[in-house]
Every structure is written in C-alpha cells, then in structure tokens.
C-alpha cells in the first residue's frame, strides 16, 4: 500500500520545517534506510518534508523518521503531520509536482525537486510509476495552462516587463544603481534572461566593484550615471538615498544619443531614487516598487484562476494512477485463473488420450476444441474483471475470483 507521511508549510511553522529539512544526499540515505524490503522516496524542500513509502508498517516507520528529524514529540508531531494512503497520496504528489501546493501557485522549482527526490529514492513498481506520472502531470500543467507564465516576485516582474519592451534580453545592457541585495536579486533575474550587467554604480565604490565583478561588469561612481544612460537599455535603482538620484532633465539629455531606443527603468528604492517625471518622456518606461507589486498581484490572481484548470489535469492523472493500481490487483487474478484452467484442461486431455487411444489427428481436434471451450468460458469473466479494474471494485472482484476458483490454495 502506498503511504505518505509528511509536513509542510500548511500548518507547520518554519522553525520545525527547518529541523525536518533533509539535504539531497541525506535524503538518499534516509530512503535506503526506510525502504527495507519495500520502496521509499524522501522529498524535502524549504516548504515540505514528505516520505513516500511502500511496504510493511510504512506509516509507523515514516512517522518515527519525521519525529527523529524534527525533534518533536509524538504528540506535537501528530498535530502537524499528515498521512495519506493510496489514491490520496498520489493526488497529493501530483498537486505538489504541478505547483498547486506551493506558496506561489505554479512555481517552477518544485518540479526539479520532485525529480531529484525520485532519482535519489529507492523505487520499485509503485513509486517508479507514481513519480514518473507526477513529473508528467507537472509538465502537462505548465504546458497546457498559463499558471507558470506570469512573474511571481518583484524582481521577476521587472525582468518580465523589460522583456515586454525589448523581447529577448540577449544583448540588453543593464545599469545597476546601488549594490545591495535587492539590486543583486533583480540583476540576477535580468541576467538569467540573457541581459548583460555592464555598470554598477554605488556611493561606496568598492561595493560597486565587488558586485560588478560578479557579473563581469564595471563599477562606476554615482556621478557617472547620467553620462552612461545613452549606452544602456535597462536601469535598476535601489539605494538608500533620501532624494532623487536621476532627474527628468538628465534622462532627457541622454535621449538624443539613444536615437529613439526605449529605456526601461526599475526603481526598487523607498524613498524613490528616480524622478517619476522620467516616465513622461517618449520611449521611457519607469516602474517603481508599487507598480511592480501591482503587476505581481495581478499575476498571482491570474495564477489562481489557472489553478482551477490545473486541478482538473491533476485529477485526471490521479484517476489514471488509480486505474493502474487497480489493474495491478486484477491482472494477477486473471493470469492465475487462466493458468488454472489451462492446467485442468491439459491434465484432462492427457487422461482422455490414454483412455480413448486417439490418433494424432483426433488428438489435435480434441486439443483445439477444449482450448476453444476454455477460452469461451473465460472470455466474459476476463472482460468483466478488466472493467471492474477500471472502476472502484477491482480489488474486491479479484479477491472474489481467487476465492471462488481457489486460486493459490494449493500452494
């Protein structure tokens, strides 16, 4: 029986999640330890630690492992841990892989984390099928819905807006004003889309040089910023300056050199670094932190709308997994039934041949006739069993067949 024992950001505080977090190499060790004679995968991210187990006593072993990792007592753990089995566990993993259980719906990182956990796990028929199908469901949701298309953070919103102006950012030149963490995050987002961070300006020059070196750019003084505007496409500003660092007149003076090329400016500072009147200039687009947060809010609302479509896809995949599991219960019963019938037929045929003294041709005719009788008799029960496997009663039917025909009793 497939069993899931886990804790996640839904109900478990970060202090506990931190303790329960298992880095990938240790997750592989834990999976080997928990698998014993069965199967085990440990999926651990900053938002969740989940153990997927197949085998004897899986729930107790999973619970004990989580208690050991989190340092919580049984009672404390009982209030935050969730346990799911069979179809419920499968549906949960499919939702996780699709990003539907993430803090930001549709976030893309989780799919890679599910794949890594799968590859580090000890898998057999059930978990192999389960995780492959989860990865398929995750990809399908991202391909068939727009859940992952829009930006989910201020820095990615800035980069996405720059793409809406310039298209591919390959070759786009970026000027960073400020060398703090926020500027770096936005720079990384832009660089990940192909932009080049060519200048970093900062009051403390050594910090500018340090950050510029990480992006293979050039550190400059704040006073040099206006003179560099002609040669860049995107400006990102996030300093702690109390007043404007760049005024409309300074940008306007650089427009002649730009020959109509658009200039996209992102002001992440509070108070703002860039004169809002810059936005009024032709081909200049200035977005401040409030504008970017509005874009993120709209995009998250869009993601939630898409989540309904994603849920339908995930439910379909869960149903396919349920059918597969049910067929696993029925197929051995069908095989046993046919083997038993064949065994009886060949035994009776051998006895009759000795008694009746049949010639070769007569024996062949009787052989063919008995095979046809067995096939015809078993055809309908086989079809009905397969139909039952597609429904909810596959296991019950399989058990009934085993009982009625005494399959496996002679062992």
């Amino acid at each position: 029986m497939l069993t899931l024992v886990g804790l996640s950001h839904r109900g478990t505080p970060i202090a506990v999640r931190e303790r329960a977090f298992v880095p990938l190499p240790q997750a592989a060790e834990l999976a080997r330890e928990l698998a014993a004679d069965g199967e085990a995968v440990c999926l651990s991210t900053c938002n969740r630690t989940e153990l997927y187990l197949v085998g004897e006593d899986a729930e107790r072993r999973g619970h004990a492992a989580l208690a050991r990792l989190s340092g919580l007592s049984d009672e404390e753990l009982g209030s935050v841990v969730y346990r799911l089995t069979g179809e419920g566990a499968a549906l949960h993993l499919f939702r996780v892989a699709a990003g539907l259980d993430s803090m930001v719906p549709g976030e893309g990182e989780i799919l890679g984390q599910v794949r890594a956990a799968f590859e580090a796990g000890v898998t057999g028929a059930v978990l192999d099928r389960l995780f492959r199908q989860a990865l398929h469901a995750g990809k399908k949701v991202r391909a068939e819905t727009a859940i992952a298309e829009s930006p989910a953070s201020v820095s990615s919103a800035g980069a996405a807006l720059a793409q809406q102006v310039f298209g591919r950012l390959d070759g786009c030149r970026v000027l960073l004003i400020g060398a703090g963490h926020v500027a770096e995050l936005c720079a990384r987002s832009l660089a990940a889309r192909g932009a080049r961070i060519v200048f970093v300006a900062n009051r403390a020059r050594e910090r500018a040089d340090g950050l510029a070196a990480r992006f293979d750019g050039e550190g400059i003084d704040l006073e040099e910023v206006p003179s560099r505007l002609g040669g860049v496409d995107v400006v990102v500003s996030s300093t702690g300056s109390p007043g404007w660092l760049l005024r409309r007149a300074q940008v306007e003076a650089a427009l002649g050199e730009r020959k109509g090329r658009p200039l996209f400016l992102i002001d992440l500072a509070v108070p703002r670094d860039l004169d809002p009147a810059i936005h009024e200039l032709d081909s200049c687009y200035l977005y401040d932190i409030d504008d970017l947060e509005a874009v993120v809010a709209e995009s998250l609302a869009g993601r939630r709308r898409e989540a309904a479509r994603a849920e339908a896809i995930v439910a379909e995949e869960a149903e396919r997994f349920r059918e597969w599991q049910a067929s696993r219960e029925v197929v051995p019963a069908i095989a046993s039934l046919r083997a038993r019938a064949e065994e009886i037929r060949t035994a009776e045929l051998a006895r009759a041949r000795g008694r009746l003294g049949l010639s070769e041709s007569q024996h062949a005719a009787v052989e063919s006739m008995t095979a046809q009788i067995v096939n015809k008799l078993l055809h309908l029960p086989t079809v009905r069993l397969k139909e039952a496997a597609a429904g909810a009663n596959g296991g019950t039917y399989a058990e009934a067949v085993r009982h009625l025909f005494g399959l496996g009793e002679e062992e």
Partner: protein
Amino acid sequence: MVELLFWPALVAYGEAALAYAGDARRPGGAGRLATWGVRLGWLLQTGLLVVQAARADGFPWGTWAGSLNLFVWLVVSVYLVWGCRSRFRLLGLAVMPLAAALLVLARVGGGTGDAGRSHYSTAFLVLHVGLVSFAFAAFTLSAGLSALYLWQERRLKGRRAGGLLGRAPSLVTLESIAGRTIAVALPALTIGIVAGLVRVSDQGTAFDALMVVTLVTWLVYAAYVVLRFEVGWRGRRVAYLALAGFALVIVARLGLQLSHFS
C-alpha cells in the same frame, strides 16, 4: 468546385476570428483552434485561386472584386509568416475578422467566381495588380502591427501591463517587423506603380483619383522608410505614420477602385 472551396474557406476564416476572440478572453486551446482555422482557410482559398487561375483566360483577378479576393489571400499569407506564434494571436484578432469580411465583399462583387476576359494584358495585370495588391496587403499587416504597438505602448505607459506579459510581442519586435514589412513592400509598390504609369503614358489616358491616392500612399511609405531607417525615427511617431499610410490604402483599396478598371 469554386463553391466547394469558397464556403469552407470563409467558414475557416470565420472560425479563426471567433477563436481569436475566445483566446483574447481566455488564452489557451482557442488560440490553437484559431491558428488551425487560419491555416485551413488559407489552404482552401489557395485552392480557390488555383481553380480560378486554371479556368481563366489570362489574369483572373483584374476586377475590383477579383483583386479584393487576391488581396485577402495575400493579407492572410503575410500574416501566416509569423502569425502562428502564440504571441501574435492578438494581431489575428484584428486580421481574421477583416479577412472574412473582405472575402464576403469579394464574393458579393463577383470576385470569387469565374473571371471574364479582361482587355488588359496578363503581364500588365500580374505586374500592376499583383504587386500593388501584395504591397497593400503588407501595409495592412504593418498597420495591424503598428496598432498593436500603440495599444501595448499605451498600456506600458499607463502601468497596466500585468495582463500583457507573455501574451503579446515586445515593443521592439513589433516595431522591427512593421518596419521590415514596409521595407519589403515598398519596392513592390514602386514596380506596380511604374508599370501603371508606363501604360498610362503609352495609352495617353488621364490620371484618375486612384492613381493620385496611390502615389500619395507611396510617398507616405517612402517617407516612413527614410525616417525609420535613415533618420532613426522610432516608437510612436513611425507607428502613427504607418497608420496614416494605411488610411490611404483603405481609400485606394475600397473607395476608389470600382471605376479604375472599368
């Protein structure tokens, strides 16, 4: 045979127009249906033009309605060059209803059936009507791209870009494709006009209003090419210029051609 191709082509274009509207409301499957509608409709209309050409004695689209039929096919052909990409679906929302409506107009005018014998030479009609129609089709598409540019630019200026992300081509892409389309179409228009002027000169016929408007259209697009590629104009100014040129294309294409080939 002509009927068997015309109606399915019209239905496919209509389906594409409706599906593009559906895709604008909720992106996804409707957009793919729209793309297939455009492809299928274009194939069927291509078949229609082939049948018309096979049956005709000479160039079959020399009449006002016939050239409109050819114009619709050229518009859809130029759109298909890049229109199947998902980011250009908003452009399809403008192009396909126009294509469907003009195809109906071409049919009402008798331009989708068998063509009569024209007293103009086939070579002249191919050179003049064919090239001018191609240029006008390209200008139509560049006007659509420029309109999309202005709409998107307004949204970016209005800081209402959230719903836009990933759904429309970037400003730079729109401007670049519109510019290149006009740069390719202008030589075709030039040759088409020269062919017409040579004939006017040979026959000694007088200038009519369509000729004047076409020459002014040429001047506007020539100015576009010079200002965009030589002077370095970008952004809204060139987009408005492309739309001004398109206004003249509408006048020339729909308002004045009725009497031109009579």
